[in-house]
Symmetry: C2
Subunit: 133 residues, 2 copies
């Protein structure tokens, strides 16, 4: 078997340290994307529908995001029943955009490899049938 | 305060169900991206360096990915000490590419909103200083 080419190994090349653990959660990505699409704010019940979450789940994630200062909530007491509006804070927007940059790096790295894959495979030892079809 | 426009609410619009929980983990994204860049396989110790993980952490994630059939490991007994080689299986490659499509959707949705943000904000009620700077 040919040895892996050491020159291709850069320590931490695929560590993706920018994938902020607070944000890198499926439901939270939905919440943050909803909020970034609506700078004027989104009502709790609408956010729940957009992200297809339960009350409890949404409340739990919002608590974490609000605790970290990324999301701001505001109770409005207009006509009808009180409503909770959620918005992205300025630091929240900044941090989400930074996270998105790292997410784009993952997509770029993997897509480039996927496109180059079949060609590179032809150069490697592919006799053991374990390589992707 | 103006009411949110109901027409913009599509249930589950930002639910991102395609963000496969098995794959949507920072270290696992690193592992899968490393492996997709190297169809000929990556040695355990090299993968550990690429992803900047500890032995135990890498082993644990590989166990989960291998258990689900996404990754294949193979011990080689050539000259020198035995070496464990890891590769993406064909189903693993397929599932990772599907996951990447959903990841691209998140990036597209959020980027489109971020670009449109300032304009939309000017149309909303931005008097409370909570909107992004």
């Amino acid at each position: 078997m040919s040895r892996p080419k050491k020159s291709r190994t850069e320590t931490g090349r695929f560590a993706y340290e920018g994938l902020d653990r607070l944000l890198h959660e499926k439901a939270r990505l939905g919440i943050l994307t909803s909020l970034i699409t609506r700078p004027e704010g989104v009502a709790f019940i609408e956010l729940r529908a957009l992200c297809d979450l339960t009350d409890g789940n949404l409340a739990r994630h919002l608590e974490a995001l609000e605790g970290a200062g990324l999301v701001v909530s505001e109770k409005s007491q207009g006509e009808g029943r009180p409503k909770t509006m959620l918005r992205l804070s300025a630091p929240g927007r900044k941090r989400f955009l930074e996270y998105l940059e790292e997410l784009e790096r993952v997509v770029r790295d993997a897509r480039a490899a996927a496109a180059a894959g079949p060609k590179r495979r032809a150069l490697g030892d592919d006799s053991r049938g374990l390589a992707p079809a």
